[in-house]
Amino acid sequence: MNTSDLTDLPTPLDAGTQRRAMADWLLDTATPKFALLVTWLLCIFAILLACSPIEFSTGVPADAGASLFSWLPESILRSGLFFTGVRVVLAVSAVCWILRVAVPVSCWATTFGFMLMWSLRMENLTNGAHIFNVTNMLMFIHALWYQFYWRQMRSGIDAGSLMNTACYPRWAFLLSLFYLGWFHTLAGITKIVNSGFGWGNGVSLQLWTELFGNTGTPFAQTILFDTRLTAVMQTGALMIECFSILCVFNRSVRYAVGVGLTGFYIGVLTTFVTFGFHFNAVLVAIFLLPVDWLIGLKFCNKHQSAIDGVQ
């Protein structure tokens, strides 16, 4: 048994044993191939963001800030020089993280540099965007992983066997799944709260496609074909979003959610080409499709030996 599903948890004897078994189970480790792939990808996203120029919209600052950094003085938020400085810090720290230089400092510098970089953009724009929340939060989780497991990784590197060193904990993988699932479930909940269960009536999606979409693509043509068909697709997408959080609990459900969300993103990316959801799509595919299985992500079941020890 080597999956990461919560349903794999052992049945313990009492509350204390249950807590210990749960903790041990969450602390089970796997080789870091999968996590390193994710980390490198996140760092590449960070470098891409650092290379992108900013747009300073003119106008009155919004009453409610766009980010946790909205408390910064206006002179900082609108400063091109400060923005350039953050870009440099972000690019350098991301490269350092990839090269494992100055970790875990470079991990946190990348994570908070990314957060500040995107916050500065949001603070200077008249429209919100949600294309980097997932990237940034997965970066945070993986910085946390480096923070606690860098010592083991260092040992593996020194021994020339990092790829065979069990140093990627199950909690890091599950927490990433949790964030991905919750992010998409929230999207479903917000739609229902805002527009009700009838959100997927087909008309709104057709309007968005006409307004913002590339209407020449086959997927857009399908959407525009008939409102009733579009309503089925839209409601299906809503259901997939709402149930995304279930990906944490079971591997089969995770793959099913992954197929649904990946299909959803393929539709979004081929229709709303300029919206920039590519980063989310890539991360959804990596975590929710059987990439872990292909790479051979297997966590060592230390909890069983712990229970045996108690017994």
Binding site: A62, L68, M115, N133, F148, R151, L186, A187, V203, L207
Partner: protein, 189 residues
């Protein structure tokens, strides 16, 4: 910031699990307590449910396109609820959610701006109206010429707009004088 090699393993293991749990807990409550503030989000993209939409283009007497933002007819809606998760307020527009406005409302609005800004005109407003009919989206284009006469230039309010022509494509129909009833969400600046 350094790794925690000095801490006893039990404490270190407890700390990493505690931090992981705190991360999950914060994100569970953040939509209610923090809302839409990066890096926290309520994922509001496309959460509304428009029933019909309008966009506007403006041209001068020579047919040269003018930035519709000058006339507060620009589109700020991009699928995100306007005003949420942005740091700069967008320039006020007649139709924040791209909801259709009545022709009278649009022309009065444009006239008021022409008077205020001293724009002689005339200008041509091209309205693209998207609405559902027979399980498809109909793309309708109307054009209205708006001008202000001498009396209006001196401050008298009035309405002098005339339909010019209608451009129809295979999926478009023309309706030069149709007033659109749904004005929900329209908030003139």
């Amino acid at each position: 910031m350094r790794p925690l090699p000095a801490a006893p393993p039990v404490i270190r293991r407890g700390l990493e699990l505690w931090l992981a749990g705190a991360f999950a807990l914060v994100h569970l409550v953040a939509p209610v307590l923090i809302g839409e503030r990066y890096p926290f989000t309520i994922s509001p993209m496309f959460c509304d449910q428009p029933a019909e939409c309008c966009t506007y283009a403006v041209a001068d007497a020579n047919g040269k396109q003018i930035d519709p933002e000058i006339f507060h007819l620009h589109l700020v809606y991009d699928g995100n609820p306007p005003g949420l998760g942005m740091g700069i307020q967008h320039t006020p527009t007649l139709h924040p959610y791209c909801f259709p406005c009545q022709r009278q409302q649009v022309t009065d609005h444009v006239k008021a701006i022409m008077q205020r800004e001293g724009i002689a005109g005339p200008v041509t407003i091209t309205r693209r109206h998207l609405f559902p009919r027979d399980h498809k989206i109909i793309d309708e284009t109307d054009q209205w010429k708006v001008s202000i006469d001498a009396a209006e230039k001196n401050g008298a309010a009035g309405n002098k707009s005339a339909p010019l022509n209608q451009n129809a494509s295979p999926n478009q129909i023309a309706n030069p004088n149709k007033d659109v009833g749904n004005t929900a969400g329209a908030s003139p600046p």
